[in-house]
Structures are given as structure tokens and as C-alpha cells.
């Protein structure tokens, strides 16, 4: 079992619901300070978005963030360089599209991520069926490959995905891309479908934009992922202190 999953299972065992904020790497020069601030604010793990030109699973906010970051010259290498040494105090999970790893070289990419402290990867366009080469090279590192499940996922696929995912299972609350619809939609049904076949920690994401929603969703699951809502504040000029408060507000709601 990858260390990420060990960590997250332990967290769950303490009764604490996980809060996982998402950041677009490179979107501002001080993005790593935002990451650190989030941890201070109460984040349990951090998603690090690596910008891709064609983010098929993302809505306008993250698209915009990706474009800004790309325009600033962000690459896997620049991100890893900035992360290396900057201990954040919470597990880091890369989130990006498969082409970047494919183009970088799977083995090389896994190695580079791992070397800079990343312990998980979410690749939304990497289907279970196509994931073997990637999972194989990850086996030589401590990177957990996290799969998504969705309201449209069939019972059979729930089973395979829940048993293959590492670290946690990412439960899309809605049939939507990031940042598009708000609310936790089908979260209960999706989480329960995972739980029916596996005891892997299951976090709800996609559409969690307010502390109240986060609280509701976390009550039905093991944690929540907050993406576009946070990225949006950073795009509008939020400081690391703002980020800390933003995350803290979610923390408080969840822990209420």
C-alpha cells in the first residue's frame, strides 16, 4: 500500500474528514506559498494541478488558471524544481492530463514527481483500461494512482475502480466538469457505491464550492476536494493569507 493511502486511512481512523484543496501550479509566482498557507489553514492533502493546453475535464476557472500558468512558462520541471525542498507538511498529489506524462516519458515523469515529494497522481483522462503502463512505472515509486468514479459509473466499474485506486477514490458528485455545477449532487449514491465494494477512503469532489457544501459532502464520505472555488480566489488576487482563511473556513465547517 502506497504511503498516501496509509496516511489517509490513518486520518480517517482518527475520525477526521479530509480536506483536499486544489492549486494550479505556477498560476502565480507565489503559488507554493499558497500551498503552505492551505496546510496551515487545515488542508490534509494538496492537489497540485500541472497545466495542460487542453484540459478536457476542467471548467472555465481552471482553464483560465492553466492558461495563465502556461503563459508564465510552467512545465513539469519548473514545478518539481519549486516543490523540491519546500516541505508543505501535507501529502502532495499531482493532477494533470495524460499527455504530459506520456510526452515526458512515463518512467521519467513518475521518478521526477516522486523525487520532488509528490505521492499521488490524478489523471482524469487516463482510464482504468489504459492505465497499466502508468501504474507499472509508479510501482517503482511511492506515487499512488487515484481514480475517479462518477454518477454514470456502472456497478461493475465501481468494483474495479474502487479496488484499483490507490490513496483514495475520487467520487465526482455530479456529471460535470470542474467548477461548472455547484452542490454535491449524486454524492451519496456514488460514495455508497464505492463503499459497497471497498473500504478505500472516498472523497467527494466536483461542485464543492462553499463550506456548507463541504460539510454536507464530508458527512457522507471521508473527505472533500475543493478546486475551482479556491482557484477562482487566487485568480482574483487572493494572498496566501486569504488562502489560509479560505481553507480554514472549509475546515471549520467540516469539523463543526
Amino acid at each position: 500500500m502506497k504511503s498516501l493511502e496509509v496516511h489517509l486511512r490513518e486520518l480517517r481512523a482518527t475520525g477526521r474528514k479530509a480536506l483536499v484543496p486544489y492549486f494550479m501550479a505556477g498560476v502565480t509566482p507565489d503559488w507554493t506559498r499558497h500551498v503552505a498557507a492551505a496546510v496551515l489553514g487545515g488542508a490534509d492533502a494538496i492537489e497540485i494541478g500541472i497545466p495542460f493546453s487542453d484540459p478536457m475535464m476542467d471548467g472555465v476557472v481552471i482553464q483560465e488558471a492553466a492558461q495563465r500558468s502556461l503563459a508564465a512558462g510552467t512545465t513539469i520541471d519548473t514545478i518539481c524544481a519549486e516543490l523540491t525542498g519546500a516541505s508543505s507538511g501535507a501529502p502532495l498529489i499531482a493532477m494533470t492530463y495524460y499527455n504530459l506524462f506520456h510526452h515526458y516519458g512515463l518512467r521519467r515523469a513518475a521518478g521526477r514527481l516522486s523525487a520532488s515529494g509528490i505521492v499521488g497522481a490524478i489523471v482524469p483522462d487516463l482510464t482504468l483500461e489504459e492505465s497499466e503502463p502508468w501504474r507499472e512505472v509508479c510501482d517503482d515509486t511511492d506515487i499512488a494512482t487515484i481514480f475517479l468514479v462518477a454518477p454514470s459509473t456502472t456497478p461493475e466499474r465501481f468494483k474495479t475502480l474502487a479496488s484499483t485506486t490507490q490513496g483514495f477514490c475520487y467520487a465526482s458528485a455530479r456529471m460535470a466538469v470542474t467548477g461548472r455545477a455547484a452542490g454535491d449532487g449524486d454524492a451519496t449514491r456514488v460514495v455508497n457505491a464505492v463503499r459497497a465494494t471497498s473500504d478505500v477512503p472516498t472523497y467527494v469532489g466536483i461542485g464543492i464550492t462553499t463550506p456548507a457544501q463541504a460539510r454536507d459532502a464530508s458527512q457522507r464520505s471521508d473527505g472533500v476536494i475543493v478546486g475551482s472555488a479556491l482557484v477562482d480566489t487566487i485568480l482574483r488576487g487572493a494572498s496566501p493569507a486569504d488562502t489560509e482563511e479560505f481553507v480554514a473556513s472549509f475546515r471549520r465547517a467540516i469539523d463543526e
Binding site: 493546453s53 487542453d54 478536457m56 495524460y98 482524469p124 459509473t153 460535470a176
Partner: protein
């Protein structure tokens, strides 16, 4: 010349053509891809479905399209050129073959709505057309830049009862329209079919679209046989995503004919690209050193795509088909030459294939060879643009 008997058959169960193809989509879309695959396999084995598909293409779509011997062009260039006239199909290009198939399948799956992406608007107009005929709701995603360049095609789609949504993300062109259509599909996959416009995307699209387009090659093969020409020495088609090329290649993949795909020089995914993953498939892509997808650049909007269908990537890797790029300049000359000599104004896309023949006649194409050219579409849509370019030079 390699000659195996198993090119362009059924892909692997995961939708792979050699190293290419597959499915790279959000999990939310996987069930829809699987459902579509099953529905297509079922329909394509059902004589009733096939009969309706063929009948609609005949009675509505104008098939079979003829094969025209280009007498004056042939004489001038010293090769015997026959053109498969997809420009005469309803809506002006081969795109109708695919959308007729997919809309019939949509109805068969019990879905009431289609979405589609479009670049210049050809696939969008074709989809709107086929949807109107069946009374399906239709939304077309089109890069905002393209909606401004192609106001008339936007209006055509609206006339046909479709909604056109301008896409403002990324480069605001075709590849972003695909992204946006995929994003939309995630939200409505229950009652909506994504009518993809070329042999690209996740399995089963590359295979399904090729099957729906293969009527081009099968017709042409029969027509040339009936005319006593037999198997041509060469089959030449332009390649954007690669659907018209796949369609005509399918009739000759397991013959001695050389297969040539002509890409836009500014979007030559095979010649200038490298393997990668985009829009649900693994294929050859134009990308930066960091794996960011680059914009293609071509005078012809229909070839302005940074990728190519995965089966083409495979045919290229396997050496069964060859791919070349042609520049805008040569394409303009080819369009004018064919118009003047034969009374056929080709689409700028199709003019890439014409240009390659003009360039290679007597060279890569030995004198006297028989060449089957896929005239994938008519040039009417391009006339304003060509006029502006040529006038701008006067």
C-alpha cells in the same frame, strides 16, 4: 509494397490500432463509450440498420457519388486521375456519410439529442442537417474565432434548427471546440450522443466513423472495376482528422494500391508530430517540447487540427500508407488549376490532395499511373476566402 489482408479491419477490443487509439476520457464518459460501442456493434450487424443507413444516404444524401475522369488534368500532368466526387454529396462533402450513420444510431440508442464540434462548420452543418431530418435536438460547439470567420455556416446551422455555442476557451478554434463538446457531453451523456466529426476521439469513434465513411472506398472500388480501371496505382486523399481518407482507403487497404494522405504542412501530425494523447485517443500530435498541444495552421479550416485519427498513425507506422504535407501556396494553385481545367472547384481541404498529385506527377507518381483522388468536398465554402487572398495580392 506491403500487402497484407488485414488492414482496416476491426480494432482490438480496447479500440487499439497497433500502438494507437484506445480510450482516454473521464470516467464519467466511459459508460457512454461502452454503450456506444455496444450499440454500434449491434447496429452494424443488423441488416435493417445497414439498409436504412444506405437508403438514407442514397435517397437523402445523394449516394452513390460518381467517379469523374479528369481528362484535361490527366493530360496536362501525365497521370490518369479519377476523382471520387464527395463534393456532390448533400451538404457538400463526405461529412454527411458519418452524420447519417451517427444520427440513426442516436435514435436507435433512444437518445433525443446530439452535440457536435465543428471547425469551419462543415461537420456542424452536416450534423445539423442529419439531426433536422430526424427531429433530433442539436447543439454545435464552435470556436469563437471560427464563428466569426464563418458567420454563414453559423447561420446555416441555425436555419437547420441547431444551436451554435461559441467556445471561448484556449485558442477558440477546433481543438477547443472538441474539448468543450467533451465537457458538455459529461453533463448530458444520458440523453445525448456526441456526434464526433472525424476518425478520432475515444474508441469506438475512430472505428465507427471509418466504417460509416468506408462507403466511399467501397463505392469507388466497384466503380473503377466497372469502368475497367481496376485497382488504381494510388489512392490520394487529404487528411484533417482523417475521415475522408480513411473512408476511401478502406476500399483499397488490402489491394496493391499505394495509399497517400496529404496533410496541411502547418498541421502535419504524421510528418511533424509525435505520439501523444488528446481528445480521447493516442495518436500522432503536434505538440511542444513539453507536451502542450499546438495549434495547427492551414489555409483550410478543415485541416486545422493538430492530430490525426489513430488508425492513420497506425497505417503510417506500419508502412501501409504514406503521409505528406502540402503548403498553402501550392494548394491555392491547385484549386485554381483544377477549376480551370475540369470545372470542379475543390474544397481547400481536397485541393491539398490535388496539389500533391500536381507536385509528384512524374516523380513519386510514375507517368501513366492511375490515381484515385478523393474530392472530399466542394470549394463553394472557400470561394470568399480564396478571393480575398488572391485579390489582396493584386
Amino acid at each position: 509494397m506491403s500487402q497484407r489482408s488485414d488492414y482496416m479491419g476491426i480494432p482490438s477490443s480496447t479500440g487499439h490500432f497497433g500502438d494507437f487509439g484506445g480510450r482516454f476520457v473521464p470516467e464519467a464518459l466511459m459508460p457512454a463509450c461502452l454503450e456506444l460501442e455496444a450499440a454500434f456493434i449491434d447496429a452494424w450487424a443488423d441488416p435493417v440498420f445497414i439498409d436504412e443507413y444506405r437508403t438514407v444516404l442514397q435517397e437523402f444524401g445523394g449516394r452513390p457519388t460518381p467517379v469523374t475522369y479528369l481528362g484535361r488534368f490527366s493530360k496536362k500532368f501525365g497521370v490518369e486521375v479519377f476523382a471520387k466526387r464527395e463534393d456532390l454529396a448533400h451538404t457538400g462533402s463526405h461529412k454527411i456519410n458519418n452524420v447519417v450513420g451517427q444520427t440513426l444510431l442516436t435514435r436507435r440508442m433512444g437518445k433525443a439529442r446530439v452535440i457536435a464540434e465543428t471547425g469551419a462548420g462543415q461537420h456542424g452543418v452536416a450534423t445539423a442537417t442529419a439531426a433536422a431530418r430526424l427531429g433530433l435536438e442539436c447543439t454545435v460547439f464552435m470556436g469563437e474565432v471560427d464563428t466569426q470567420r464563418q458567420v454563414l455556416n453559423v447561420f446555416r446551422m441555425e436555419l437547420l434548427g441547431s444551436k451554435v455555442v461559441p467556445v471561448t476557451s484556449g485558442s477558440k478554434t477546433l481543438k477547443d471546440a472538441v474539448n468543450e463538446a467533451m465537457r458538455e457531453w459529461v453533463t448530458c451523456v444520458q440523453d445525448t450522443h456526441y456526434c464526433l466529426g472525424s476518425v478520432m476521439g475515444p474508441h469506438p469513434f475512430p472505428w465507427m466513423v471509418r466504417e460509416f465513411q468506408s462507403i466511399i472506398g467501397h463505392e469507388a472500388s466497384e466503380q473503377l472495376a466497372r469502368r475497367g480501371v481496376g485497382v488504381p496505382d494510388m489512392v490520394v486523399a487529404c487528411v484533417g482528422g482523417g475521415s475522408n481518407a480513411a473512408g476511401i482507403f478502406a476500399g483499397f487497404a488490402n489491394t496493391t494500391a499505394r495509399l497517400v494522405g496529404v496533410e496541411a504542412a502547418g498541421g502535419a501530425a504524421v510528418s511533424n508530430g509525435s505520439p501523444g494523447v488528446l481528445h480521447g485517443m493516442k495518436s500522432m500530435l503536434i505538440q511542444s517540447e513539453h507536451g502542450q498541444i499546438e495549434e495547427a495552421h492551414s489555409i483550410s479550416a478543415g485541416l486545422d487540427y493538430p492530430g490525426i485519427g489513430p488508425e492513420h498513425a497506425y497505417l503510417a507506422a506500419a508502412g501501409r500508407a504514406e503521409y505528406f504535407g502540402m503548403g498553402d501556396e501550392e494548394v491555392l494553385v491547385a484549386l485554381q488549376t483544377l477549376s480551370e481545367l475540369e470545372g470542379i472547384i475543390p474544397a481547400l481541404e481536397s485541393a491539398h490532395a490535388v496539389a500533391w498529385i500536381m507536385q509528384e506527377a512524374g516523380k513519386a507518381i510514375p507517368r501513366g499511373s492511375t490515381v484515385l483522388l478523393n474530392m472530399s468536398g466542394r470549394g463553394d465554402k472557400d470561394v470568399a476566402q480564396v478571393r480575398d487572398i488572391l485579390r489582396g495580392r493584386e
